[in-house]
């Protein structure tokens, strides 16, 4: 598996009101790899992630996910891709009118032929994996921010995705919860071979998870490489970012 390309950005550009957000961005994410996109706020990181499943389309360029060009897909094609790609949103984006358990069950009810009891069993497994089995009947408003994030992760994993996209996994979380989520992502990569793309500001987290880091600045990829390579970058901005936000 490793070595095959799971995601390819090919000269992708995106503008908002004539302001370039992404400018000719190209990179590859190999299957089974954890790829972290770093950069300052407003650098275009989240937009990059959203374009991978067609939540937003680029103005020019191509985006290939699992071999399909997302920019050319019709609704059925996008549905096919989205079933294979999990997405954890920055603020979890849980459906607040249904319980924690029903949030996790939602994709299973929509896209599988599992019976009610099988779905409940699977929801139990997923919530257990993120340590929240005891909270399955609570409403999203009744659990903490960290818990919501973990529920969002359980929901994103419900269909056993080949690729997992994660937007700011540690934002608003205490260091311990942040570490727990990183460990969960690492175990997914190691045990299931899931390809993971993480957008983050958190350098210690990126170091823990990432096989490859890409530094995005003003819509361009300034540098791509292993955590070690980025730390030793000749680019002053990259070096400063890695050290200022750094620590271990």
């Amino acid at each position: 598996m490793t070595g095959e390309i799971a995601i390819r950005f090919d000269r992708v550009s995106k503008r908002f009101d004539e302001m370039p957000v992404l400018d000719n961005v190209s990179f590859d994410v190999r299957r089974g790899q954890a790829f972290c996109i770093l950069g300052r706020s407003g650098a275009g990181k989240s937009i990059t992630l959203r374009q991978m499943i067609g939540l937003m389309l680029p103005d020019s360029g191509n985006i290939f996910v699992l071999g399909e060009n997302v920019t050319q897909l019709d609704a059925a094609g996008l549905t096919r891709i989205r079933k294979q790609v999990g997405f954890l949103f920055q603020y979890s984006a849980l459906f607040d009118s249904i319980s924690v358990g029903e949030n996790v069950a939602f994709p299973l009810r929509r896209h599988t032929r599992m019976s009610g009891s099988e779905i409940q069993h699977r929801v139990g497994e997923l919530l257990d994996q993120v340590g929240l089995e005891a909270h399955r009947h609570k409403m999203p408003s009744e659990v903490s921010g960290g818990m919501r994030k973990r529920v969002g992760l359980a929901r994103a994993l419900a269909l056993d995705p080949t690729v997992l996209l994660v937007d700011e996994p540690s934002s608003g979380l205490d260091p311990v919860t942040s570490l727990e989520i990183d460990e969960l992502l690492l175990s997914l990569k190691q045990q299931r071979g899931t390809t993971i793309v993480v957008v983050t500001h958190n350098i210690p987290s990126a170091r823990r998870i990432g096989d490859t880091l890409a530094f995005l600045h003003e819509g361009r990829i300034l540098e791509t490489g292993t955590p070690q390579q980025l730390e030793n970058s000749r680019q002053e901005l990259v070096q400063r970012f890695m050290s200022v936000e750094g620590g271990t």
């Binding site: 959203r50 079933k83 997405f87 949103f89 459906f95 994709p107």
Partner: protein, 260 residues
């Protein structure tokens, strides 16, 4: 002058966008999957949960109309026509219009706020990321539910209005329940009831479409949600009142008996 032309152009472009949004909703409603579970849930939300408001309002409107009608008719010694006048007024016009306006306030605002909040908290994007057609799941289901619920609520309003009228009348004149209902329904036939209640299907479609459009396209965080909610009530109320003029004319054209 130039800004007025531009404003008019923006208005037509906005109305066109809403019309296209609604037409897309109707087309999508005919295509599987039909989202029956979500439609049922929405009928419960917009219909069943509106019943107390509609019933209470209907009762009050009926009672007040009865009191006003009595004040006018007793000058001519025509008090016996009160039930018939009230029944006709309620079923032909007051019931459908008042129900639709109350529906704009309760359901239109709710849809605008709910979809707006889902947009700004990325729940709509989350639906899409889970390979669910958010338009079909959120908009189509609400449009269909409103088109089903509003005629039923109108019938409830008509019924409770007549009860309200009877209550006001019996306090003053001691008229019996059977006599009141007999007189109230004596002049009403299906040509009065069906077109007048049927038009609320169109009102339901308009209210759901406008509110869903504003909620679905909300921008600007919580302030945007508030605006979507307020605009949903304002614009759907205005359009219901304006559309009512055209629909009544159309009813008179297609059902000449309804004009008598």
């Amino acid at each position: 002058m130039l800004s007025a032309v531009r404003g008019l152009k923006d208005l037509f472009s906005w109305l066109g966008a809403i019309a296209w949004f609604g037409a897309k909703g109707l087309i999508q409603a005919l295509k599987p999957p039909y989202e029956l579970a979500e439609i049922s849930r929405q009928i419960y939300e917009v219909g069943y949960r509106s019943m107390p408001l509609i019933a209470a309002a209907g009762f009050a409107v009926g009672a007040v109309m009865s009191m006003h009608t009595r004040a006018s008719l007793e000058r001519f010694g025509a008090e016996s026509l009160i039930p018939m006048g009230l029944g006709l007024a309620l079923i032909k016009e007051t019931g459908p219009l008042v129900t639709a306006l109350l529906f704009c306030g309760r359901v239109g605002a709710g849809i605008g706020a709910e979809l707006g909040a889902m947009r700004v908290t990325e729940q709509i994007d989350a639906l899409e990321s889970l390979a669910v057609d958010s338009f079909k799941h959120l908009v189509v289901t609400r449009v269909v539910a409103c088109m089903i619920a509003l005629p039923l609520l109108t019938t409830l309003m008509n019924f409770t209005g007549i009860i309200g009228g009877y209550t006001a009348e019996t306090v003053i004149s001691g008229m019996s329940f059977n006599l009141y209902f007999d007189r109230a329904l004596s002049a009403i036939d299906f040509e009065d009831y069906i077109p007048a209640t049927g038009k609320t299907i169109l009102f339901g479609f308009m209210i759901a479409t406008i509110s869903s459009y504003l909620g679905y396209h909300t921008r600007g965080g919580t302030a945007g949600v508030g605006q979507a909610s307020t605009k949903s009530v304002v614009f759907s109320s205005i359009l219901v009142i304006l559309a009512n003029v055209i629909v009544v004319k159309a009813i008179f054209f297609f059902f000449p008996g309804a004009a008598e």
